[in-house]
Symmetry: C3
Subunit: 316 residues, 3 copies
């Protein structure tokens, strides 16, 4: 198993890509690349997090993110505990911070938190000695998803600067969109956000992105399209007319794909609604990197965990 | 700790006993026997599955099967992750196959699946590179339960061929019955299925079994009785008149036991309804192997896990 | 890592502090002290429970107790499995004892049980070969909570005998109160229980405690106050008039604290209702040992686990 390179890293927490420098993002990507080799020869585990305890503190449902963090932490030798708010002391009236401080007092090293409230991970970071990783806070940021999207683009295209990346769908409620915008912009990509006017927040141009309401118009210019997930409850609240109408205008199918560059790269954070954001033949087709993203997510999360609390190899 | 024998095994999945040859079943039983010694000196763990990741993908509730697989996998050095469909991406509309493929993309080696739909594990096996173990699919098969029943009979009686085994109760809805029938028949046992006419499917004689509707009539001929579990919701749907009536005709109590062979062996897949299929004094009496079945389940599952993805000992 | 002292211990179970001798309690406290050093240099794990399997059998919700036991067991090298009654065979009608015996038959060493029924852990202990730890049974006992409270007092004050400890709040429904009373009394502390007449059971003086209904009256005499948690559902049942009224009479705030001894030690088993039993500035102030209790809980539980089923160090 190749030994890990020495990386410079000072941050105790990963709260969002907005606060990271370009160099810090590149550090994560470079380290993640080392871990992609690990996944191919899986029998050996690293011990960089041996003796460390990582807690998943998820206040919103999650399959892949929680499992991906759990697996990443175990691959590095950490112990992982899941905290599920149902059946727990939050139902007895304990505050969010008290719950976290109590968990921390048991001697844990890292808290991975998902919460419906924007800023919840930042609040934790202020109150805990343990490291905090944001696994999604409201519609704000989901930095490891952003990092794995960026990693996947770099892995397949070889570079990021000069690329045009379209983020398509529900920009307003997407923490994935925000993490993509902050990360990709710093690495020199151009971002176009594209969705129905009700789902693109006003003033988002201030983040340095172009705004469009027509996928057909921007498609020929894009090197990468990241198809954001549609949450069906938005329809009930009147934010878009119908699923069929949405799919017709903003979904990706074989016909529309013909208007794109021949090497268009398609990403989707998943879980995908087949036939809504993306048709089955496109999701499973040659442009799609959807499952590669999931695989890369493990390597990216191993990199983040190692940077935040891993020990150098000679101590392992 | 005794070293494991070399076994020949080619299958990547365990989907049912219907598809296994007699020799393959014997291979599992023989290997399981080695693991029963392990459980007696438990401090040492084997490392045959070190670095492997096993996922429990249970879409139906389970205590013993899920825990038994988890323990078996850990005893062999694997990492085990539980996937629980509630609070997960299936509630966000993801398809069954997409959920499984996403989990697989994280780098897992084996999926243990329980699902209400017949054939769900076979579907997974077609779509995944990872190995698939059927932990119960609808009323179809539950192969590791069948194997542990067969293992327990062989352990106590020394052999299987020539034995007469009665399967008593709800044959129609029992995946345990089907796995028992396929496995025991291949190993030379004679099977009598016995239950109320509404709970014995027509045409089941084609599987090579005898059909009876009277436990009292077949009891004197049986060497083994496997008391299937009654699911109370069947009564509501009119499939049998009342719990009391069922217990009177098909339950096992001390009085009825007097009509059986003196060395009758009683199995029950559990969880048992005391006083329905079996009275407490019989469940806890000398004929009952109910808890032995649970203990043997661990050894049988270790054998299956090792055959599907274990490494030879010298690599461990 | 310092090696552990040899301790004399004969009990297979920890069911309550009522049954322990003074010497046995001191043994747990002394061993726990060794483990507090472990938590400070956390990279190294002990192997005293290597190969052992510990099951959390929680029939009532719990965050900190379940996690604390899980972490303690893993720090000693054990495998830990969680049993959650929802989605399990108890929903299929299996009895409590059958569920436990089935889990035990899989080869487990220790069951940690929480149950709404007083005596449930004692019942298990009668039926299982495995060791049983009571993690809270009804309003009866919660011995490891009692032990960690006692440990924290001894750690901060250096001794227990001669101290006056006030237990304040819902004495009637508190298993923490009962474990505190049994343990502290044996170690020479004087106990005053204090709460509204509806929440102090008649005849509790027989346990050797003083009874008071006025916190203001007893406060100047107390060296330690343990603020029990108020369960809001008690109010609905008419056991106290209102949260505000309760807080005014039995809550701890800065003004009331001025009437106490200057070195008063404040404990609370948590999760706390900020502003009810204790105001935020007092909970986070210099008298409070609330988070220290949580940290000590880990060491105390490691001690209990090691005494019940740990191996001597030279075998590890």
């Amino acid at each position: 198993m190749p030994s890990l390179p020495r990386m410079t890293w000072d941050r105790p927490h990963l709260l969002g890509l907005e606060e990271l420098t370009r160099d810090e993002i590149v550090t994560v990507l470079d380290l993640a690349e080392h871990f992609t080799h690990d996944s191919q020869e899986r029998r050996k585990k690293r011990a960089n997090l041996a003796g460390k305890v990582v807690v998943n503190l998820f206040f919103e449902p999650s399959t892949r993110t929680r499992m991906s963090f759990s697996l990443a932490a175990r691959r590095l030798g950490a112990d992982v505990l899941d905290f599920s708010p149902s059946g727990s002391s939050t139902s007895k009236g304990e505050t969010f911070i008290d719950t976290a401080k109590n968990i921390e007092a048991m001697g844990i090293d890292l808290v991975i938190v998902r919460h419906a409230a924007t800023g919840a991970p930042h609040l934790l970071a202020q109150h805990l000695q343990a490291g905090v990783i944001n696994a999604g806070d409201g519609a704000h940021e989901h930095p490891t998803q952003g990092l794995l999207d960026i990693f996947t683009i770099r892995q397949i295209r070889g570079h990021l600067d000069g690329l045009t990346v379209g983020l398509v769908g529900d920009i307003a409620h997407s923490r994935v969109a925000r993490s993509n915008i902050h990360g990709l912009t710093k690495l020199g990509a151009k971002i176009i956000v594209c969705g129905p006017p009700t789902l693109v927040p006003r003033g988002i141009e201030e983040l340095g992105v172009e705004v469009s309401h027509s996928l057909d118009a921007i498609l020929p210019r894009c090197d990468v399209i990241n198809m954001l997930r549609i949450q069906f409850e938005r329809q009930r609240s009147g934010l878009f007319p119908s699923i069929t109408e949405y799919a017709r205008l903003f979904g990706m199918d074989s016909a529309r794909l013909k208007k794109a560059k021949p090497d268009l790269l398609l990403l989707a954070p998943g879980p995908i609604n087949r036939g809504v954001e993306i048709t089955p033949e496109v999701a499973d087709g040659p442009h799609s990197a959807i499952l590669k993203q999931v695989t890369n997510g493990l390597a990216v999360r191993m990199a983040v965990l190692h940077l935040l609390c891993g020990q150098p190899e000679e101590m392992a």
